[in-house]
């Protein structure tokens, strides 16, 4: 069945308010259950091993319950934060329009539920920031910090590099090795620059 057909079917049901409310509930908890399993399997861990990563430690039986969508016990927000910490992934909880719920509900492939840990995705985050910096014109030495426009000292070599074909590669290297004129740790590129990882990539936890 095509995704469009599935979405069409679901949309018909979502027109019923009672179904909508129930879908919210089931969508959140089913996603959490399966995403927890996806994260654990991505890390090649047993339930017991994953439970040991949680602080404080969780028993294997508890992880098993958290992965079971039929279980009575539902995870609290605090539990989700502990699980996110154990997997070293981010957690987002926010309200979204039903169009978002609909789109995400039909993307249930387990690979879509996998999330890299911070260490694994760090090179990509840095490359992304470097790329965004190019788009924002940071190469000219202009960057935004704390909502103020900060004009950095002019460096002729920046302009030379700007003409280079290896611009992005150069920026990546520079990001990894901050220069005195723009220490990476002091540069804020704004909240929209760094992609946020969501433990629950499929829906918001209401």
């Amino acid at each position: 069945m095509s995704i469009a057909t599935t979405k069409h079917d679901l949309l018909n049901s979502l027109k019923d308010r009672e179904f909508r409310a129930a879908w919210n509930l089931e969508n959140v908890y089913t996603t959490i259950c399966f995403q927890l399993r996806a994260l654990r399997e991505q890390r090649d861990m047993s339930q017991g091993e994953f439970g040991k990563q949680v602080k404080p430690k969780m028993a294997q039986e508890r992880i098993s319950i958290l992965e079971d969508p039929n279980a009575d016990s539902k995870p609290t927000l605090n539990t989700l934060i502990r699980l996110a910490d154990a997997a070293d992934v981010g957690l987002e909880v926010h309200f979204v329009p039903f169009s978002t719920v609909l789109s995400r509900s039909v993307r249930t492939d387990m690979h879509e539920l996998q999330v890299d840990s911070f260490d694994v995705e760090l090179p990509n985050i840095e490359a992304q920031i470097a790329f965004e910096a190019v788009l924002e014109g940071s190469i000219l030495g202009v960057t935004k910090a704390s909502n103020k426009l900060l004009v950095l000292p002019h460096h002729p070599e920046h302009e030379a590099e700007q003409a280079s074909n290896s611009l992005v590669a150069s920026l990546r290297e520079r990001t990894a090795t901050p220069r005195p004129c723009a220490p990476a740790q002091n540069v804020s590129l704004g909240q929209n620059v760094v992609p946020t990882v969501s433990l629950n990539a499929n829906a918001a936890v209401a």
Partner: protein, 130 residues
């Protein structure tokens, strides 16, 4: 791309007993239907189904039960992997009470329907997530 596509059994009169059951609010309240459909969608994206959500039925080779609990009702969807690869055919809806299927004939009906579907693939249609 999904790992599995769900199909519903079509009886000799051309009716779909799975859809009829799902849309019958006395049998399956709206909230239960939401849960059943959500879990089916998730299973469609999951290559390997594990207990307790799904398990092979003892003494009924090839028949798999999908176990979905909503409040105090244990819903069971009996089906089989097929007729084609990456397809799962839903054959019989049931509930489980005191370790027994209701109706008690559900596993036998599932086995018969599986044979019918394997012999005639026109006896299934795509499952709708209504």
């Amino acid at each position: 791309m999904n790992e599995w596509s769900f199909f519903d059994y079509i009886d000799e009169r051309g009716t779909n007993p799975i859809e009829t059951w799902l849309m019958e609010k006395r049998a399956v309240p709206v909230k239960a239907r939401a849960k059943i459909q959500r879990i089916l969608l998730q299973l469609a994206g999951t290559a390997l189904w594990t207990r307790p959500l799904a398990s092979n039925l003892d003494d009924y080779e090839g028949i798999v039960e999908i176990r979905i609990r909503w409040t105090n009702t244990q819903y069971r969807l009996l089906g089989f992997r097929g007729p084609e690869q990456r397809q799962f055919s839903l054959l019989v809806p049931a509930i489980e009470q005191d370790d027994e299927f209701v109706p008690p004939t559900a596993p036998d009906v599932a086995r018969n329907r599986m044979k019918i579907v394997i012999a005639d693939r026109r006896r299934i249609c795509e499952h709708r997530y209504n």
